[in-house]
């Protein structure tokens, strides 16, 4: 009896699992695996240990020496030998691009050296290489090679936080004229927070009105909220560009009305980005709040007022707390979505409004520095998860309702 019950139970669990299996597989293959891949990429050092194995091994003990001087002849000889092999196997370009991330100009140094490398050294390999290009006599060039030699590196993560290892492998803040990423990260969080706040201020009264109107009117208004939602993001962004530009309809209307004398600068700066992003993300705030408010029986407010509470007290003490799960869900949704935004700031923002995703896209597509792109992604992921944890600690997952 009990056994058959258990069997039936197990069959049901299995059937349930079977139904969920496609989604679980999908999530695993298209969500968890890429994220894991990204995290791995952010610490992977690149092809040097495979392309120049002996040089990589020899450079390890050299890196421990203090103070740094030029590596000895054995390193030079191994390097020259392996450089020739790499050029023959056509693996050199890959290595050259990787090393160019360390030092600008490394790519052509390496390619040119490989092209002109003689079969046998004239004197020592050290003199030969330095003769080909005096840069081979600089510690900095070898230190960069040394940094690329282990399998794993924290270099990309350091770079994502505007730090680097100097020629003696000490961690240093990067030169301020090249520091980009920390500022971009804080800017991203700042823009996301402001957009979330603006969405909340606009969405809450709207959702309240929608929830209290009769069904037919509410549905009609709901379509107005959803309509932009069904339009492509690019179209909406481009439309904002047209509306907000100096000779666009908004500026012309304001000038015609006499509100302003000079056209306002509303595009290619922060206000433009905030306006467009708030508009694009507004439905993500309205919908969760609305769905929670729909579930609040109107009797509660009536009961509170009939017991003598003025409207605002009743609202504050009864309605607001009941609608909070929708608010928290909406805020989280909008904040997380805006952290990843880049098309809107790219098109409407100025140079001071670019978010981290734009830099990630740039590194991925243009300079092919996937390590640094992955490191920035990892930092962004850590920040998001940390914020989410703090948030659930403060609000609690029970206090959140997504629909």
């Amino acid at each position: 009896m009990r056994a058959s019950l258990r069997r039936a139970e197990r069959a049901r669990t299995l059937r349930g699992l079977g139904l969920a299996l496609p989604l679980i597989l999908f999530t695993f293959v298209f969500f968890l695996l890429p994220i894991a891949g990204m995290l791995v990429k952010s610490v992977q050092n690149g092809p040097m240990p495979d392309i120049l194995p002996q040089t990589s091994a020899l450079l390890q003990p050299w890196r421990a020496t203090e103070p740094r001087t030029l590596p000895d002849e054995a390193v030079f000889a191994a390097f020259a030998e392996e450089l020739r092999t790499a050029a023959r196997n056509r693996t050199l370009p890959e290595l050259a691009s990787r090393l160019n991330f360390e030092n600008a100009g490394y790519r052509s140094l390496l390619m040119a050296t490989a092209r002109r490398l003689p079969e046998t050294p004239a004197g020592s390999w050290r003199d030969t290489l330095v003769g080909l290009n005096p840069q081979w006599g600089e510690v900095a060039i070898w230190a960069a090679l040394g940094r690329a030699s282990p399998r794993l590196t924290e270099g990309y993560l350091l770079a994502a936080l505007d730090h680097r290892r100097d020629d003696n492998d000490n961690v240093q803040p990067i030169d301020p004229s090249r520091a980009v990423y920390v500022a971009a990260l804080t800017r991203t969080l700042e823009i996301s927070a402001i957009v979330t706040f603006l969405c909340l201020v606009l969405a809450y009264p709207l959702a309240y009105r929608l929830a209290t109107l009769p069904e037919s009117t509410a549905n009609l208004l709901m379509i107005l909220v959803l309509l932009p939602f069904w339009t492509s993001l690019l179209v909406r962004t481009a439309s904002w560009l047209v509306i907000l530009q100096r000779e666009g309809p908004l500026n012309e209307a304001l000038q015609w009305l006499g509100v302003i004398g000079q056209p306002l600068d509303l595009v290619f700066n922060r206000p433009g980005v905030l306006i467009a992003m708030t508009h694009v993300l507004l439905p993500f705030m309205v919908l969760p709040i609305y769905s929670v408010m729909k579930g609040i029986p109107p009797n509660y407010m009536r009961a509170a007022t009939s017991l003598g509470a003025p409207f605002f007290t009743a609202f504050r003490r009864v309605y607001l707390p009941l609608s909070l799960p929708g608010v928290t869900a909406g805020c989280l949704l909008v904040f997380i979505l805006s952290i990843g935004y880049y098309i809107t700031p790219l098109l409407i923002g100025g140079p001071n409004d670019q978010m981290v995703s734009a830099l990630i896209a740039f590194l991925t597509l243009q300079t092919l520095n996937w390590g640094l792109a992955a490191a920035l992604g990892a930092v962004l992921l850590v920040i998001t998860v940390a914020l989410y944890l703090v948030y659930t600690r403060v609000v609690g997952t029970d206090g959140m309702k997504l629909g």
Binding site: R90, M111, Q245, R246, F362
Partner: protein
Amino acid sequence: MNSTIGRLILSAGVAAGLSLAAGTAMARDLTVVGWGGAAQAEQNKAMFQPYVKDTGNPLVQDSWNGGIGVLRTKAQGDSTWDVVQVEADELVLGCEEGLYARLDWAKLGNKDQYLPGMADECGVGTFVWSTALAYDKSKLGEDGPKSWADFFDTKKFPGKRSLRRGPRQSLEFALMADGVAPGDIYKLLATKEGVDRAFKKLDTIKKDIVWWEAGSQPVQLLQSGEVVMTSVYNGRVFAANNTEKTNFALAWPAGFIYQVDSWVILANSPNKDQAEGFLKFIQTPARQQDVANVLAYGPTLKDSTGQIAPNVLPYLPTAPGVIEHGVSFDTSFWVDNIEALNERFNAWAVN
């Protein structure tokens, strides 16, 4: 049920076998790869179809969107492409890496017929496009900007101006504005002082720059009056004036930066002889003019501008009296320095 599956597997096997046999037995037709779109359609009309008609050789077309990674894959293993149109950076990188066949110029015609720098050991330049200074003549009339110094002069020309986002070209134009001779620009940019000087010059109009990203933006910015002048691809100005009836003008004498798109033959091509015959056939002044007349891309052959339609000539970077003001985009410099200068540019832009 089982028999259906069996049949499927069988037919798939037969199909695979057949295609394998076809692949090894038949020599592949010459495959030419362009960038698709209007440009390739025009090349097809002016160059590819005449080749097929005159020589009777079949020709297969394909198109791509650039990227050295694609060429690295194509140059290894089974060959599927023969002749590919590449941009300047792919030409430099691929040639260095041995992805392309070394060209036999004896078979391709005279190297001296080409404008300087447009014929090299790996590639045959096919057209020239450029980034130049443009303004709206209907607004500024004859008093438009004459130099990049004017571009940086917000007293003489109040209002916003726009440049392509990023250090590429911005730094070159800044140095031109600062009075550096075109020939010295890249020599100077290779030094820290030169880069500092360029950024210092950009500082003077930092608040007045709108940065564009896509090639269609500068034209739109000019048209809407958002900016008084801009850097722009010359072909876009030609297209806008033709289709939108705008009156934009290019200030060629101010100096501009040009890049060459070239044909290369992949190193693993089994049709190298045929490919060279094809390149010799299509690279004639007449055929280059046909393409230029529609797209306003400049021909690379010296005597190719004679028959260009008068309405196209003002937009051509290689027109006589124009090309002398141009600076060839230094691809090797930028491939080496793009990461460092990008960081510098991004940091500069926000501070």
